[in-house]
């Protein structure tokens, strides 16, 4: 379990690198998408370590709402906002 968390943290770093490098806005948004999903997993890991069910509610907020930001950027780029 600890190893899994460490790997997820390294994944956060790698995705953040793409965010820093990304030549265009769309690349950065892909990085944002990946980062939100990884952080959902991270929140569940934290809930497991502290043994509290209630933290899963926060993860659910992320699971439902994370893609609205991505869709907002997408609709802006295609000129439909």
């Amino acid at each position: 379990m600890h190893i899994a968390t460490v790997i997820a943290m390294v994944a956060v770093l790698v995705a953040a690198t793409r965010f820093v490098l990304g030549p265009s806005v769309a690349d950065r948004t892909v990085a944002l998408d990946v980062l939100t999903i990884i952080s959902t997993s991270l929140i569940v890991f934290i809930a497991l370590y502290t043994n509290r069910v209630i933290y899963l509610d926060v993860a659910l907020v992320y699971g439902i709402l994370s893609f609205i930001g991505v869709i907002a950027v997408a609709r802006y780029l295609e000129g439909g906002l």
Binding site: A8, A15, V30, D33, I38, I64, L77
Partner: protein, 121 residues
Amino acid sequence: MEALRLFGAIVALIGSLFLFLGALGILRMPDLYNRMQTGTKSTTLGSILTLLGIGLYHTDWFLQTFILVAFLVTTNPLSSHALARAAHFAGIPLTKKTVRDRLAEDEALEAEKAEEEADND
């Protein structure tokens, strides 16, 4: 019970490996669309496996993690599709290696047709 916990931990470990793979994929792929491919697929499977693994590890939480997985599987490809479509319309180029772009061809055809109609009117 211990066996189930061990199994859950291994599944979560594999899932986090896939998450890492997705992050590595968006770093190493040559153009936006390929990045999106690796990003979406690996992170979806990675989050499915991670969450279900934790659900198996802590059996009381299985239903909750299952609902989380259901929402993630629905929303993740949708956002990826929207972003791909937006990127195509915003004119972000594909790589040099691209063989064929049917969508751009068809759009050019339609634009020509519309121009002809405008000429006729």
